[in-house]
């Protein structure tokens, strides 16, 4: 009854190929966007912005980027932290060295630097596959860590190696308030997410998926592996680079190379795997899961313990947070190895048939 599709006729190819062919999905999606853009700014507190919404939105963009590479093109990457770092440091250097550029221009341009680095580190993917490629992209991670720590020029010779983002302004408006920060990050994620959604539905995306599913077969039917793999690396790194620049400029404000270390790469990989490989929705769900759950557990455990009369110390909270978080990841992967997005699509199929299953 919720999904009553009776009467929805598709009379053109455009209607049949729409992102959301079902009217209810379109309405829900628009409503969600309206809530995110208009309702959230009315109700969210500064804490919710800074600790929850802004990191989730930015990491969702990074997860979408990694999903292009891992989920759509089937190339395992452990270098996403470094690509975020490339974006962040490129944006920083553009802002410092070309002071007339608006920070937003710097953020967008930084994506192209990340894409170039991504292509360079994607070249080995033409010869090596699977776990071996993961190891090769790990090299990108270590190279990034090394470069940001050692090449003094990249950090403008600051004595400590920690750098600061310039103030966010556009047309004379100051965008440093948490609401503005959130809207900036959300706008970037939505626009780029929509772009990616369209790319993966087009011929480029189909080439990626052909390569993912069986590269030899894809090559035989005329997909050029070099072109397909390198475009995947470029698009993926572009998105991850932009998210890195946002992470630095919008979320952190001041950062050191450790902000983009191997743990960040793993975190993004977990988001993609838990959210669902090959799904934009999955990337967003994965980001929400990975960012929110630890914070939620950390805050919920002490009052929960108090209900039973236990006083839980800070250390115990932190330890149980890790344990429960780990257990939940295992649980979700056992229940649904294809991720949260798959859970949703199963639920949706059920809803479409409900209340008259075959």
């Amino acid at each position: 009854m919720i999904y009553r599709e009776a009467g929805q006729y598709k009379v053109s190819y455009q209607a049949d190929e729409a992102i959301f062919p079902i009217a209810q999905d379109r309405v829900v999606m628009l409503a969600l966007l309206a809530v995110a853009f208009f309702v959230v700014p009315l109700v969210a507190s500064e804490y919710v912005y800074r600790a929850v919404l802004i990191p989730t939105v930015i990491l969702a963009l990074a997860a979408i980027g990694l999903n292009v590479l891992m989920g759509y093109c089937g190339q395992v990457s452990l270098g996403s932290g470094a690509f975020m770092g490339v974006g962040a440091y490129a944006a920083y250097n553009l802002a410092i060295r070309l002071p007339f550029l608006n920070p937003f221009v710097c953020i967008l341009l930084s994506g192209f630097f990340a894409a170039a680095v991504g292509i360079a580190f994607g070249i080995p993917s033409l010869r090596i596959k699977g776990f071996y490629l993961a190891v090769a992209t790990l090299a990108a991670q270590f190279f990034g860590d090394w470069a940001f720590l050692r090449i003094k020029w990249l950090t403008n010779n600051t004595p400590s190696g920690s750098v600061n983002a310039p103030p966010l302004q556009i047309f004379g408006y100051d965008l440093s308030s948490p609401t503005a920060n959130y809207l900036v990050a959300l706008a970037f994620t939505c626009v780029l997410g929509l772009g990616v959604k369209n790319i993966v539905r087009g011929h480029v995306g189909r080439q990626w998926m052909a390569i993912r599913d069986m590269d030899i077969a894809a090559e035989i039917i005329g997909v050029r592996p070099m072109y397909a793999k390198l475009t995947a690396f470029a698009v993926s790194s572009f998105l991850i680079g932009v998210s890195g620049a946002l992470w630095a400029f919008v979320y952190l404000g001041s950062w050191e190379p450790a902000a983009f270390d191997i743990n960040r790469s793993f975190e993004l990989m977990f988001m993609v795997i838990i959210g669902g490989l090959g799904s934009i929705l999955g990337s967003v769900l994965g980001a929400i899961f990975i960012v929110l759950l630890p914070i939620f557990l950390n805050q919920a455990l002490p009052p929960l313990g108090a209900l039973f009369g236990w006083h839980i110390s800070t250390a115990t909270v932190s330890h149980s947070e890790s344990m429960i978080f780990g257990a939940l990841i295992v649980f979700f992967l056992v229940v649904e190895p294809h991720g949260l997005a798959r859970l949703w699509s199963v639920a949706k199929e059920k809803l479409r048939l409900w209340p008259f299953p075959h």
Partner: protein, 441 residues
């Protein structure tokens, strides 16, 4: 904005109704947040500091009922030494209590850098006692940062002075080799600028040897030290890196008494894991030594013996536990200073900031507080957010830390120009106009 304010007001009224029972009492409370790390790679050092900081506040509450009748509330948040979690904790705690957080002490250079960007907007001061940005002692630019008791440039200067004294004069430094074995993060890199300047001034060769975080693996670095044979090794580590460095020094037989750690590399968790290999190792002191002083009697009486402390018995009186006490003492004394001007009620972050900037602890006052023998007099001002540039050296004899030197004062002729230079660069980058300190009252 009207709707948002109305919504907020509505929410405030509802929540006010819910907590009405406790509201009357809560109005007269001063909230102090604690960013701690009791888990992770740096926990051995984070735990005693967190216990000391919490115990001093608990002691003030039990003994004096807070400060001037205003009860202190305290809440910890676990950062695990990670910058993003630290920022989350800061956002969570900054608005607690009737007047918001009094001050933050993140005990992490990385988190300090991130909070330095946020503190001016939120009007919450940062007390980064003995860590953080060395240039943040310039209060004209860094209005909200207070690296009280010493910065890393102070530490670098005192370390070189001590080495010169051991060798018999600054002229003996010429042609010598001094290595800096450092944690490869903003923390470890802070002293490099000052050491560079001093190596040029005194003519010693300065070797930089980075250790990737967390620093438990140092074989190749110590191989390099064995090959290069530096006359002294300065150790700028934290957490497990310290004990690993001392152990490796023992393995390659580098003389331990030619190793000088910074004050974050000179506590019990840094040497005890190394066992006998640690004997002879020296470290700078953030003024205070290990051991028990006047204040410890009160903490023992009002907190420890009441079972209100998380500290283990052997932790009580250790270097980092004492540092936690000093940190909370400086913070609460700043609140007291602010109350003298603004009245005996909970202080806002802005008022506490004024209090820290006008903190003036004379030897007499320090004695009354029970900290005699731990720290020297400290006087903070707009131009000098550090307050004191003193340090001593202590040595681990295999069982305990023994103070082996007199007080050294950092050479401001070296540090001052560096501070001006980097603080000016920061101000230009962030488009900050420096305050005119001659006009501040």
């Amino acid at each position: 904005m009207g709707i948002r304010k109305a919504a907020l007001l509505g929410a405030a009224i509802v929540s006010a109704g819910v907590i009405a029972a406790t509201a009357a009492e809560a109005q007269n409370e001063q909230f102090i947040p604690g960013l701690v790390y009791r888990t992770g790679a740096y926990a051995p050092n984070g735990v005693p500091f967190a216990d000391g900081a919490a115990d001093y506040i608990a002691m003030l509450n039990a003994r004096d009922g807070g400060i001037n009748g205003v009860k202190l509330t305290f809440e910890e948040c676990e950062t695990g030494y990670a910058t993003d979690r630290g920022v989350e904790c800061y956002e969570r705690l900054k608005g607690k209590g009737p007047t918001g957080a009094a001050y933050f002490s993140p005990l992490s250079t990385g988190i300090t850098f991130a909070l330095t960007e946020k503190a001016p907007g939120d009007k919450v001061p940062l007390i980064t006692m003995g860590y953080g940005r060395a240039d943040s002692r310039d209060g004209a630019v860094f209005t909200w940062n207070f690296p009280l008791l010493g910065t890393y440039w102070t530490a670098a200067s005192v370390a070189i002075q001590y080495i010169a004294k051991e060798m018999g004069g600054f002229d003996k430094l010429k042609g010598k080799k001094i290595a800096l074995l450092y944690h490869d993060s903003p923390y470890g890199k802070e002293p490099i600028a000052a050491l560079d300047v001093m190596s040029k001034k005194y003519g010693f060769e300065f070797l930089q040897i980075p250790v990737p975080a967390p620093g438990s693996e140092q074989k190749s670095q110590w191989l390099q030290i064995r090959q290069q044979k530096p006359d002294y090794v300065l150790l700028w580590g934290w957490g497990v890196m310290n004990s690993a460095a001392v152990t490796e020094a023992g393995n390659v037989n580098y003389p331990r008494d030619h190793m000088i750690g910074v004050w974050w590399s000179g506590a019990e968790p840094d040497v005890i894991p190394a066992g006998d290999k640690a004997a002879g190792y020296k470290a700078l002191m953030l003024q205070h030594p290990a051991g028990k002083f006047g204040v410890h009697a009160d903490v023992e009486k009002y907190v420890i013996s009441q079972g209100k402390s998380l500290a283990k018995p052997d932790e009580f009186g250790q270097v980092l536990y004492n540092r936690g006490l000093v940190n909370s003492m400086l913070g609460t004394e700043a609140i007291r200073t602010a109350m003298a001007k603004f009245g005996n009620k909970p202080m806002t972050g802005e008022q506490v900031r004024w209090g820290i900037e006008h903190l003036d602890l004379t030897a007499d006052r320090i004695k009354k507080l029970g900290f005699e023998g731990m720290i020297g007099p400290i006087k903070v001002s707009c131009a000098d957010h550090e307050g004191a540039r003193l340090s001593r050296v202590h040595q681990w004899d295999g069982k305990q830390w023994k103070v082996i030197s007199d007080w050294f004062t950092a050479d401001d002729a070296i540090i001052e120009p560096l501070v001006k230079d980097t603080a000016g660069k920061y101000a230009a980058e962030k488009k900050i106009t420096a305050r005119d300190c001659s006009k501040e009252s």
